[in-house]
Point group: C2
Chain length 350, copies 2
């Protein structure tokens, strides 16, 4: 029973294992495990010997091995494309908020290509790297949906909708319509659109906003013009170039609806460098209401980015806590925020 002082140190470079601690303390691994996890029923004197051994070896259990054994990680993962986008950042902020105070840690995985999307699901679809998933702005491939369901991995979608999972989203068609109608009501007839990239990663909100745009135009009796619709890209400098093109058309549009604030900012820069005054000569409306939008006075359609993350996190926590959550789609409200980048159409156009 006397403590064994020298339990043959392991090769340098390998941290101590539970077996090393057990050997040093002269107990079995089960006892060390009990001490580590604060189980009752360990004699105080034994506990102390174990604690000493732990400290002597500077031991900490492998969280990986622990997860494998427990079938539980206490980690929630967020999968999202281009997560350094301002709107994505806002959503993640909400998720952080929603998770704070819970026992779960957040791990963020960026998807910047189809390849990474595959890798992401390879890592997470069995639920062994995270106990729950928040999938943002992307729709999992059907094969993954099947696997996630088979493995029983709780999963909540944000800014994407799938019948198998609870989803948080907004009505993008209505949003596009709202933005366009605002411009129409200001007297604009030549309204251009800067849309987002083609459906990558199966998320298509930009297309939906375009549909809303077309619907509002039709409703106002305005013929949609092909040369006014540009499916640009999410990158600001490309949006800027696209806007420059639009503003150099022989029949220059008097208003631009950008499918995201980031793109709207690009459009503003383009107008600036062409010497076009906003909103006197050109109205610009964005979508999202990212943080800088308020700062620079951008008119936009506000969607509750932060709230979407917060709400998604809450739903996921509910599921993880065993409170059943229906796979319903929750639509968050949109709101037009009129600031300084939209105004009445120029006179000669009225």
């Amino acid at each position: 029973m006397e403590p064994l002082p020298a339990a043959a140190a392991r090769p340098a470079g390998s941290p101590a294992r539970i077996a090393d601690v057990a050997a040093l303390a002269g107990v079995g691994v089960a006892t060390v495990s009990r001490v580590l996890n604060g189980h009752v029923g360990v004699r105080p004197s034994t506990r102390e010997r174990v604690v000493e051994a732990i400290e002597a070896l500077n031991y900490r259990p492998s969280s990986l091995a622990r997860s494998l054994s427990l079938q539980r990680t206490m980690v929630v993962a967020t999968l999202l494309p281009w997560f350094t986008n301002p709107s994505a950042v806002q959503r993640v902020s909400g998720i952080v908020e929603g998770l704070s105070g819970s026992a779960y840690d957040l791990m963020v995985f960026d998807i910047e290509s189809e390849d990474r999307q595959r890798r992401a699901f390879e890592l997470f679809d069995r639920g062994d790297r995270a106990d729950g998933l928040l999938v943002v702005s992307t729709l999992p491939p059907e094969a993954e949906v099947a696997r996630l369901r088979a493995a029983g991995v709780p999963c909540v979608l944000i800014d994407a909708v799938h019948p198998s999972f609870p989803s948080i989203a907004v009505d993008d068609v209505a949003g596009g319509e709202m933005a366009t109608r605002h411009l129409v009501e200001l007297g604009h007839r030549r309204i251009a659109l800067i849309g987002d990239p083609p459906p990558e990663f199966r998320f298509e909100w930009s297309r939906d906003r375009t549909r809303g745009y077309e619907r509002a135009l039709t409703w106002a009796g305005i013929e949609p013009r092909g040369d006014y619709v540009r499916e640009g890209t999410r990158l600001p400098h490309v949006a800027r170039a696209v806007a420059s093109e639009l503003l150099s058309l022989p029949e220059r549009p008097t208003a631009i609806f950008a499918a995201s604030d980031t793109q709207a900012l690009g459009a503003i820069e383009a107008a600036r460098s062409l010497g076009i005054r906003i909103p006197a000569e050109l109205s610009i409306i964005g979508f999202d209401d990212i943080e800088v939008a308020a700062y620079v006075g951008l008119t936009t359609v506000r969607q509750p980015l932060l709230e979407s993350g917060r709400r998604g996190a809450k739903l996921l926590l509910d599921t993880l806590a065993g409170r059943p959550v229906e796979p319903l789609c929750e639509l968050l409200p949109l709101e037009l925020v009129a600031r300084n980048t939209t105004g009445p159409a120029p006179a000669r156009d009225g």
Copy 2:
């Protein structure tokens, strides 16, 4: 040798294991593993039977178990506080860039409290959840440094310096001096400072910038005034409140040096709402040069945020590839970017 068709399905809810595949294909687990990992030396007919079984069961290996066995995850983790801060986001963007094209996936872990910092290192300091670490804007506690070294976890520091690890940083004292001197050269004598939070998570660049500020004042023969120095907080609205206080002092400062662009924006808002014209009545200079800084015309001290991430990622990849990297501190260059928020001191102050 004939294929066993029905290898007793496992309880629903559990994804297939390698043993299930082996049973269904009528081979040993070793063979399945060989097929999975593309090893040579498997008879084509056998390989085919295994592949069929894999597809029949929709099997995918547990990445967790795989990591445990291989002692390798092919994941790089980034640990950083408040990673939804614009400057942090920029750094992460750089990391994403630096890692793209490599075989490593990036996982981001947010540290928003001391508790989370502890959790972060609990998860990662044995190197079993990630093969390498990028620690940003925070200094690991010494105990963790010891553990990381003991476990041989490659680790690169960004925006933090520690003798044990390669570090990427800037000279914050020089930066603070550069900013303040710019104001001095414009004729300002009443120069206030909005600093950052007290040293949380052991990162102290704000204090260093304050030192640079004091040094520049002394150099110009200006007596530092206690009521002009406010250690604010990173949150924009608090910075705004602090700026309001400063601007309501009987002897109002004619210039403000904000230790980060985020805080500078808060100061600008405060000035705006008090009807103080920038830069005619008040000069404001920030630090970082975050993306919106250029957009709103903020004068600032530019530090290469993106580059810091890119460079850190490269160093880590080098280490992971076995190319030895010295634990040296790499200082990136700072640059004064004069835009529209700073100008000559008001006349009566000259």
